[in-house]
Amino acid sequence: MEKTALMNQAESGDIRTPFSVFWKKFKKQKTGVVAAVFFVILVFVAIFCYQLAPYGINEYDYSSVMQPPSAKHWFGTDEFGRDLFSRVLCGTRISLSVGFLSVTIVAIVGSFIGLFSGYIGGWFDTIIMSLSDVLYAFPGLILAIAIVAILGPGLTNVVIAIIVFRIPIFARIVRGNTLNLKNSVYIQAARSLGASPARILFVHILPGALPSVIVQYSISISGSIMTSASLSFLGMGAKAPTPEWGLLLSNARIYIFTSLHYAMFPGLAIFLTVLCFNLLGDALRSALDPKLSEM
C-alpha cells in the first residue's frame, strides 16, 4: 500500500492526535511526571508485594516485639513482632485494589447515569438528580459510616459504601457535560445524518465528557483510599490480620505513648499514595482541560 501524506506525518510524529497534545502538555508539569513515576512504582509494589517483602506479613516473632526501625526491620516491628515494612508494603495492594475497584465501578455506573439523565431529561432526569441531591445532603464520611453500619464491617462493604456515595459526583459531572454537548452543532449534525441515540451518546457525547471523567477518576482514587483507611481506622473496614494501612494505624493508637514508628509508617504510606493521586489528578486536569486548571 502506498503511503499517504498523512501516514508519513504520523510516523514522523508531527501529527496532532488528542493523545500527543495531551502528552506534550503533561510532560511540562514536573510534579505530574514525578507523581506518574511514583504511581508506576506503587502499582509495581502492589503487584509484587509478596515477592518484595523481606518477611511474611503474618510471621510472628515474640522475641522481637515493638522493635524500633533497624537494619533487620526497616520500619520496626509491631506488637506481635511482625515486620512492619513487609506489612506496609503489602498494604499497598489492598489500598490500591480498593481504590481502583470502587472508582472504576463508580466511573462506569456514574457516567452511564449522567449520560442518560442528561440526554433523556424530563422526569427521569428529575428523579435521578433528586436522588443524588439526597445523597449529597449527607457529609461524605457520615454516609459511608452509615452504609457500613448497615452492611457490617469488612472491606467489601467499604467498597460498596464508597461506590454509593461517589456515584452522584460522577453522574453530575457527566450530566453537566452531556447537557452542554447535547445541543452543540456537531451533535445536531450527527442527528441529522440519522445517527441512533446510542451512537450519539457513546460515540459523540461520551468522548467529550471523558477528560473530566479521567481527572475525577484520579482524584476519586485518592479520596476512596482515604475513606477506606478512615473506616478501617474506626474499626469498620478491614479486619485483623489484614495489613490495611488504616487498620495498622488503629492498632498503633494504643502504642503511641511508647513508640512512634508503628504509627509513623502506615500513615506515611497513606499520605504519599493520596498525594500521588492528587498530583496526578492536578496534572491531568491542566493537560486535558485548560479551562479547568487551577480550580
Binding site: A137, S222, L249, I256, V274, L275, E294
Partner: protein, 291 residues
C-alpha cells in the same frame, strides 16, 4: 430535608442485630423481650414508627435513647456543644491562616514564598487527619508533655484536636485564595487601581482579595461538610466527648434513636451551611443580591 429524614430513618432500621436483645441480655424470657419491644414502639409498622418519630421531631422531641432511657436531646446537647466549639475554633484558625497564606503565596508567584505555600497546600490536602493527630499526640503529649492528649476539660485540650481538624481546610483555603487572587489580579480594575497610584497593599487587599472572596467562600462552605464528617475521626483519636465519637459508639450499641438523630442532625447542618453560604454570597456579591 424530608427525604433525608426518611433515608436516615430507613438506614438505621436496616442495621442488622436486635437492639432489644442487646438491652435485656441474651437469656431474657420471651415476655420481657416482647414487653420492651412494645415499650420502645418497635412492634408497630415502619410507617407508624416514622410518623411518631417525625411528629416528635417537629415538637422538639428526638425520642428516648434505647440504652440509657434518657431523652436523646439531653444526651446529644452537651456533646453537640463540644463538637460545635471544636469545629468553630478549627474553622476560624484555618480560614484566617489559609487566606493570609493564600494572599502571601499569590502575591509572590514564582518566589520561595509561593513554593512554600503551594507545597504546604498540597501536603495539607493529602495528609490523613488521624495520622497527624497521632503524631501530634506523640510530639506534644508524650515527648514534650506540654499539652493534654484527650478529653475536653480546658482550652488546652482543644489545641491539638482543633489544629488537626483545621489542617486540610487551611490547605484548601490557601489554594483557592491563591488561585482566585491570581485570577482577579489580572482584571482591568486592578490596573486602574494601580494607575491611580494606590498603595500596593490597598490594591491587593481591597481590590484583589475582596473580589476573590466569593469563590473562596463557596469552597469553605463545600468543605465544611467534609469537616463535620472528619470530626468523627478526630474525636476518636483524641477521645473527645463530642457527637462524632458518640455516633461511633451508638452504632456499635445499635442505639437506633441516637444514631438516626445524629445522622439527621449532621445532615441538617450540611444543608443549613449551604443556605448560609448563599446568604454570605449575596452579601459579598451585589450582582447576586439585586437579581
Amino acid at each position: 430535608m424530608l427525604l433525608v429524614s426518611v433515608v436516615a430513618f430507613l438506614f438505621i432500621r436496616l442495621i442488622p442485630g436486635d437492639p432489644v436483645r442487646l438491652m435485656v441480655g441474651e437469656d431474657a424470657s420471651y415476655e420481657t423481650v416482647m414487653n420492651v419491644t412494645r415499650k420502645l414502639g418497635l412492634d408497630k409498622p415502619l410507617i407508624t414508627q416514622y410518623g411518631i418519630w417525625m411528629k416528635g421531631i417537629l415538637q422538639g422531641d428526638l425520642g428516648t435513647s434505647f440504652r440509657t432511657g434518657r431523652p436523646v436531646l439531653e444526651e446529644i446537647a452537651p456533646r453537640y456543644g463540644k463538637t460545635v466549639r471544636l469545629a468553630l475554633i478549627s474553622i476560624s484558625w484555618s480560614v484566617i491562616l489559609g487566606m493570609l497564606m493564600g494572599v502571601w503565596s499569590g502575591t509572590n508567584v514564582g518566589k520561595w514564598q509561593d513554593y512554600f505555600g503551594v507545597t504546604l497546600t498540597v501536603a495539607g490536602q493529602a495528609v490523613p487527619a488521624f495520622w497527624i493527630g497521632l503524631l501530634l499526640i506523640y510530639v506534644f503529649g508524650v515527648r514534650l508533655k506540654v499539652l493534654p492528649v484527650s478529653g475536653a476539660k480546658n482550652w488546652k485540650a482543644l489545641i491539638l484536636p482543633a489544629f488537626t481538624m483545621g489542617t486540610s481546610m487551611a490547605a484548601t483555603v490557601t489554594r483557592f485564595t491563591r488561585s482566585s487572587l491570581l485570577e482577579s489580579l489580572k482584571e482591568d480594575y486592578i490596573r486602574t487601581a494601580r494607575a491611580k497610584g494606590l498603595k500596593e497593599r490597598v490594591v491587593i487587599w481591597k481590590h484583589g482579595f475582596r473580589n476573590s472572596l466569593i469563590s473562596v467562600v463557596t469552597v469553605i462552605g463545600m468543605n465544611f461538610g467534609a469537616m463535620l464528617g472528619g470530626s468523627v475521626l478526630i474525636e476518636e483519636v483524641f477521645v473527645y466527648p463530642g457527637i462524632g465519637s458518640f455516633l461511633v459508639s451508638s452504632i456499635g450499641l445499635r442505639d437506633y434513636v441516637v444514631v438516626q438523630a445524629l445522622i439527621l442532625l449532621l445532615s441538617a447542618h450540611y444543608v443549613f451551611i449551604n443556605v448560609f453560604v448563599d446568604i454570605v454570597y449575596a452579601i459579598l456579591n451585589p450582582e447576586i443580591r439585586f437579581e
